[in-house]
Amino acid sequence: MNNDTPGGRPPFTRRRFLRTSLMAAALTGVTRAFSPCVSQALAETLTAVRPPVFWLQGMGCTGCSVSILNSLHPRIADVLLHVIRMDFHPTLMADEGEGAVEFMLRSAREHAGGFLLVLEGAVSEEKEGRFCVIGEAGHQEFPLSVMLEQLAPHAAAVLAVGSCAAYGGVTAARGSVTGAVGAREFFRRKNITTPVINIPGCPPHPDWMVGSMLILLDAAERLGLAAGVKETAAGLDAWGRPRAFYGSTTHENCPYLYLFDEGTMATSLIDKTGCRYSLGCKGPGAWCDSPIRRWNDRVNWCVENALCIGCVQPDFPDGQSPFYQKNLW
């Protein structure tokens, strides 16, 4: 086939172009490169690799699941029908009860080392994990912590979606009595070495979740699952986040940055002629691409409407509050 191309090189197809731009995005953290049209086109070209995905809901609010339903590039219906194979998702799946849990356990055995585990919400192992029981199998109750300990070592990778799953988030905030933690911390305690991809945000933008899966699936299609996971893991920052989406601060891409530089500060939330830093905006220390990506079909985003509360950060919410007071730094 390559003979058709001058110089015997593989043809520079749309698919290769996408891959090139995707690699650039993943490696350099140039967030602009991972635009909606890239992920849309990539989703259309993914064909072979559809490892089963088990989406476990832990101690959270289901907001991450609701957010991913807003995916537009590609549309969530395409994601579910063509891009990923969602073998277990408590809010979407037709099945229920023991049958559903046993189906997941069976599928996990059949695809040992070849499935993806998504965790939404935090996990607690206190009181034998009873603060979060996710179902029964074989007439036995499964706390999330037990299920995670059983499945995670055999997963190709774990995607910790949302700030609770990644770092504990609001569930683990000061005053919590449940001992909840994020996936990495839980795995550290249990000596589980499966790679974890953190996709924080409260909730994460649908593009961050779907896009991270696409990066992983694309790498898996090129290199095989194990090597693909390795490449994806190499593209994570120190906090375990894909650089493609979390490579720059909200502040540096903020359309109001010039107001900050000028020293023109807002006097109240409804004053849109000044920078919101004076009101407590956490943009300078919050790493995500919301200002460029915008939210909900791009109609708006956090700072345009009010201010950033730093929901993507590992120390959210305690280190980011009070939300509406000027930062000390």
Binding site: Q57, G60, C61, T62, G63, V66, S67, L69, N70, R75, I76, A77, L81, R85, F88, P90, T91, L92, A94, D95, E96, G97, G99, F103, F131, C132, V133, I134, G135, E141, G169, V170, T171, G175, S176, V177, T178, P203, S268, L269, I270, S290, W295, N296, D297, V299, N300, W301, C302, E304, N305, A306, L307, I309, C311, P317, S321, P322, F323, Y324
Partner: protein, 473 residues
Amino acid sequence: MAVSIAIDPITRIEGHLKARLEVSDGVVRDAWLTGGMFRGFETILLGRDPMDAPQLVQRICGVCPVSHALASCMALEDAAGVTPPREGRLLRNLMQGANFLQSHILSFYQLSSQDFFQGPSTPPFSPRQKKPDLRLGEAATRMMLDQYLESLDIRAICHEMAAIFGGRMPHVHGIVPGGTSAPATSRQIQEFRSRLKTTREFIEKRYVPLLYLLSESYADLARVGKGWATAMCMGVFPHPDTGEEAIRAGVWAGGKEYEFDPAKVMENVRYSWFTASSGGSPFSAPTLTVDLDKVGAYSFSKAARYSGMPMEVGPHARMWVGNMELSPMGRELAPKHLGVRARTFRELGETFAFSIMGRHLARAEETWFVAKAMEGWLDALRPGENPLQPMPKLKDGEGYSLTEAPRGSLMHCLRVENGRLSFYQVLPATLWNASPRDDAGLRGPMEEALVGLPVPDEDSPVNAGRLVRAFDP
């Protein structure tokens, strides 16, 4: 012989719920519902800056964050003696309304519709219970799948509406103590209006007619699941000028209507994994203390009661209490599919209103009602008008709020001491509908509604899941 069945997890709901049923001769004889997850927001909130509460409480529920933000802001405003400007009240109604549409469409299509049709033979539509008891023909099945897929776009559009004035969804930025964070622009109003039009068309041409049709196709499910047949609404969508609520507060019990009185709300914990002293009035109950070894306890949910009575909450309760007018589609379709002439919801009859299909249909009708009301609020907006009343620094005070989340009544009570939250109680709809037994041993509303439910095949107890999802717990 009685058989004990456990359904765990009950899927396609928000949260973690398990049902234990005692079944004999194909009928549920007794039921216990277990809320299987605890995070403890009420202790997490203590000692914090009160202004942070509206953001934090949204994380209680990713489906209804707008309602929690609103309830928290209203309680803080009550404590501070602040009233948001008219514009802020309108924008709040619009964000809350948009999320009602989003939540109701999600509740029926994404969560419940698979109870009535078979999707494609791939996950997440498959596998499913061995005998799913599906009765639609090929054409109707295809229509439902088309609507399922279309509804995914529509509910995302509803989120976009809320985000136009609220910054993003889920978890809005725009609802803040004192009002909302941004004046509306003409362009935003236009963007909102076009999305509302698309959504309203879907509601009128798809959602509402489908529910009348399904109520006929599954006529037996339009007669079962009655339960206590009580109803409560705390009132929602205040008129920006008069304060009169578009969906009014009230209580229905024993065939009579009563005025709602917040002092009659109590929380029982006898069957909950909390110490005995954790219950009481939401205005004064001490902070929750977990007790997982408590004898007899079986849920992390408390049992909220009104004058000692379990109360059903949610769309059917609101439609019943307010005896809301049916949509033009409903008035036309009711004789054809339900065999009754009805102008208002109560005219559909108590048996239907408190059945599996009745609860679903009430949700569809309410979606139409809210969409229509939203058009009026949108017309009343004045671009550029100030929506925010500055909040004074709250040092000491207490306040509470009453509203409705899409899934039912919502109450927040709080106290501020020395500029910090010293008390916070949240009473979401789950504590009503999905409650365990109370101190007097009365079953929670969903438990009671499960009793008597036909379960012809113990290996595929599909009706139990259907009933639970009809409540949208």
